[in-house]
Subunit: 321 residues, 2 copies
């Protein structure tokens, strides 16, 4: 058994080679550039951890982990275009550095490359893996579309937001775990528990993300606190505040959402605090974390085998950036 | 055995249903719209014809044919974005009708949907099919990138152009045939001959395409003759003219390429005719057609089984639009 930090190092070594052919460089060099920017590599590690719950880590699991990380990077390249984001991790995004057309095609070929990493998987498992990979990929696109739709809508219910977040973020975390487990020979029941664990953990993770953007420690957060507020991003915090605000607070929030003055962030924060949004968010995050831990409990393997997943969950929940 | 017109009708019926879930409509309705614009459906028919060379047509072959047509439509949606094309078949392109972000995501989800059509293929054939599908998909992206690269280059050799056309157009025709054949249980040798048949036919088809744009009968061509010339598109005709032109003709061509006056098309056509570009193109097309027919000859099945493919090849080569 490996802990997740060992696996991060191992995946880093395996993934840190060229992922594309050399030519034509005009197509493949932008892809290699984007992969070189780095990332937390959480999804491929979840895949390998899911695999190791049930077996020794197989070569197929490493291939699948690579496919998952390539897929995730495909979504980032295209999402950056849709968001017109100039930077990611402080580096130029692909469309900024190479232009829209190349970024579009770089994303496309990154997605196809992900599928190439699946083609040599044990044929006994391939249909199941391909099917779950496909469903998940399509759901992630649905989540991205809903996210764009919500931006244009005056109000969104918390349930609709959770549904969107589940598609956009959680299902890939969940499927990464389950696909690893499938390769490890897990039963359908155990696969289901593991998927639910990943899904609930992903929602808790997103609540934490939204929380840190407003209430994080500026010294530890890494990026400017309040970015979501400045951009009027619909977050767990804002949606809850809009639900529980008094008519006065609601009117003030509506005005602030249409302004972009220097006081916007502190004034919205004041309403967030008056509405106890912070305590509510911590409680909601805890609720999803507990559901995730119950799902993990339900998986029929010894608790020793679960320790790496448990510590990853704790690590993700305690991060401050 | 069916002739290709029967298969076009049968595929039309099967493909003419909803190809996506209903919700979220903001994501899937644009995809259905684009599929409803129609098309010649040549690639899926090649798949089914390749299958019927070696067996009764299987349900898997119809699924694969659908995957291929979805893949082709994904490339069209994204190519239209890269070319900033407002219309396709006289209808609005997806990005024109729905905006860039939705078109980007509609293409992505169309590609993923194509892979979903592969997941239930007989597991005995799946790894081979997935592998050839992936390679081909990536090559089509390479062809598109080279096409964009060539637009910015002052000169391109005929060999480089044929390489680009092979990737952008021919490999998908070739792979459609071969993947159908794989599902029909064809031997690797027969698969190879069929692939080469499709590849050479595809090049002949593209030469014909370039020829018709300049020398087609305006009454039968359907679109305005000379469009490629007006847009300075690198075509078989232009590249050959640049190769064989006298210094005087070459100087005149270079000037015309920088102009956009009303005489541009007739003046370029005059040089094309003086260089015998039309006769050369017909001869080159014939050369690739004959190679294709020799490849077809090499396939070890009775000639009766080959008649549908032969008449499709003749149909494609005799078309005037």
């Amino acid at each position: 058994m490996h802990d997740f930090k060992e696996l991060v190092a191992e995946f880093g070594t395996r993934f840190g080679v060229a992922q594309f052919p050399a030519a034509p460089a005009s197509l493949y060099e932008p892809g290699e550039y984007f992969l070189s920017i780095g990332g937390k590599r959480i999804r491929p590690i979840l895949c390998v951890l899911g695999n190791e719950l049930f077996s020794e880590i197989t070569e197929d699991a490493w291939s699948l982990a690579t496919a998952i990380e390539l897929f995730h990077n495909f979504t980032l390249i295209h999402d950056d275009m849709m968001d017109a984001a100039a930077l990611r991790r402080g580096m130029q995004t692909v469309h900024t550095k190479y232009g829209d057309n190349t970024a579009l095609l770089t994303g496309d070929v990154m997605l196809i490359r992900a599928y190439e990493k699946l083609q040599n998987i044990n044929p006994a498992h391939l249909p199941k893996i391909l099917s779950l990979f496909n469903t998940t990929a399509r759901e992630v696109c649905e989540g991205q579309q809903l996210d764009m739709d919500f931006e244009k809508m005056p109000s969104v219910t918390l349930d609709a937001y959770i549904h969107m977040i589940t598609l956009k973020t959680s299902v890939l975390l969940a499927a990464s775990l389950e696909m690893g487990a499938i390769l490890g020979g897990a039963t359908p029941g155990n696969c289901k528990h593991l998927y639910e664990f990943g899904k609930n953990l992903g929602i808790a993770f997103q609540i934490q993300d939204d929380y840190l953007d407003a209430f994080g420690d500026p010294e530890k957060f890494g990026k400017e606190v309040g970015g979501d507020i400045r951009q009027n991003k619909k977050t767990f915090l804002l949606l809850h505040a809009l639900e529980v605000a008094t008519p006065d607070q609601r009117a003030k929030l509506d005005t602030l959402l249409e302004s972009s003055g220097p006081d916007k962030v502190p004034q919205v924060m004041e309403i967030f605090k008056a509405c106890n949004v912070d305590a509510w968010a911590i409680e909601l995050k805890e609720k999803y974390l507990q559901m995730a831990l119950a799902n993990l409990e339900d998986i029929a393997v010894t608790s020793a085998r679960k320790s790496a997943l448990l510590s990853l969950a704790n690590y993700l929940m305690q991060r401050e950036n």
